[in-house]
């Protein structure tokens, strides 16, 4: 099974929010609104939004990185022109969010939100800094592994995906109930980016590669 279950008690917030009934499986309906999805125009997304290290008075602190990959459908075909949104903590592990109370410094030169449309080959590319790990109050001494949140649309509302990209070799994987909520260890690994020397730019930034594969749309033949 690819996706986590709704109820995963080790992640305490699921206990009162997980539906208690199984979702109702929809019968085939070629007219269903969910088989289509919103289209985002190039005029709506600024090319500068893909560089999280600019737009402030100075440069953010932290390890500059490039994160790139492709958005693919279940058959491995690239999905061009789809919206990819990202958000993350700064290099100290603090979000630019008023409810984040972690006593790590905010970085005046880093907000941590970006977006782009995939190109003709389904590629996205962000320049950012590596986010820090941070504590949360799920259980004693709970720490989230470093991650970047991703939101992806695809071509149908049924493909809509919000997930998190992790970094290779993180020692916190073994202790993180959110990462471990995915039952199949092989599926968990699909959330871990690969370091890539070809993406890495000399004297500038480390490169990571991570492809995103969206679910099959119901009317599609496998």
């Amino acid at each position: 099974m690819t996706h986590p279950p709704y109820l995963h008690p080790d992640y305490a917030s699921t206990v009162l929010r997980a539906p208690s009934r199984q979702p109702l499986e929809m019968k085939e309906d070629p007219e269903a609104a969910e088989l289509t999805g919103p289209v985002f125009g190039h005029g709506e997304v600024d090319a500068l939004d893909a560089d999280l290290t600019t737009g402030h008075a100075g440069e953010p602190l932290g390890e500059r990185i490039i994160v790139t990959g492709r958005v693919l459908d279940a058959a491995g075909r690239p999905i061009p022109g789809t919206l990819v949104e990202v958000w993350q903590a700064n290099s100290a592990g603090r979000y630019a969010h008023q409810r984040d109370q972690h006593p790590a410094p905010l970085d005046p030169n880093f907000t941590g939100a970006g977006r782009c449309l995939t190109d003709d080959e389904g590629r996205y590319r962000f320049v950012t800094i590596k986010p820090g790990a941070y504590p949360w109050r799920n259980h004693p001494n709970a720490w989230r592994p470093a991650h970047i949140h991703f939101s992806v649309f695809g071509t149908a509302f049924t493909q809509r995906l919000v997930t998190q990209m992790y970094f290779p070799g993180d020692p916190l994987f073994a202790f993180d109930p959110i990462f471990r909520s995915i039952p199949d260890p092989a599926a968990r690994e699909r959330l871990v980016a690969a370091f890539d020397l070809d993406v890495t730019e000399p004297e500038w930034a480390l490169g990571y590669r991570w492809d995103i594969v969206l679910g099959q749309t119901p009317m599609e033949d496998a």
């Binding site: 699921t14 903590a89 509302f157």
Partner: protein
């Protein structure tokens, strides 16, 4: 090999909301309706950190992200307020329903449902007993306003869908 889902978490508020995200049509659009309600957890408490997305099935002629000018968009987004409330202003969809996705901390994958603006003959509504069907029906509440609460868990849990 599909990419697994993970929770949207509590800290999306500085990244995902955008200007007029809940306004699929501008204020004063002829015939516009508002869908509003609260998201509740299994204890009946409001969920103040959910993100809802509404899709009518028709892209329309207004930007989905950039809300400049007039026209109709088929897509909207709304984060819940501290009291768990949300709202969307839209042109009545051509189908009897709009599709709704709810993301939140504690939801490892989104829940999806439909907001029916009328109890019309419909395969999904027809397959449900009256109590379950009622969870999908928006209730008229004043002029051009419909009330639709999302109950994530419990006795009156909203009917959630899987495609």
């Amino acid at each position: 090999m599909t990419t697994p889902s993970q929770t949207v978490g509590p800290f999306f508020g500085f990244a995902l909301p955008y200007a007029a995200d809940w306004e699929l049509v501008p204020e004063g659009h002829p015939g516009a309706v508002t869908i509003t309600g609260v998201v509740l957890d299994g204890a009946g408490e409001p969920v103040p950190d959910a993100l809802l997305e509404l899709w009518t099935g028709e892209p329309g002629d207004r930007g989905a992200l950039s809300r400049e000018g007039a026209g109709v968009s088929g897509f909207g987004r709304c984060g819940t307020a501290p009291d768990g409330s949300y709202r969307f202003r839209l042109a009545p969809p051509s189908r009897p329903y709009a599709a709704l996705l709810v993301f939140a901390r504690g939801l490892l994958k989104p829940v999806r449902t439909r907001v029916y603006l009328a109890d019309a003959p419909d395969p999904l509504l027809g397959s449900l007993d009256p109590a379950r069907r009622a969870t999908l029906l928006a209730r008229p509440e004043g002029q051009d306003v419909y009330r639709f609460d999302v109950r994530l868990q419990g006795e009156q849990e909203t009917v959630f869908l899987e495609f």
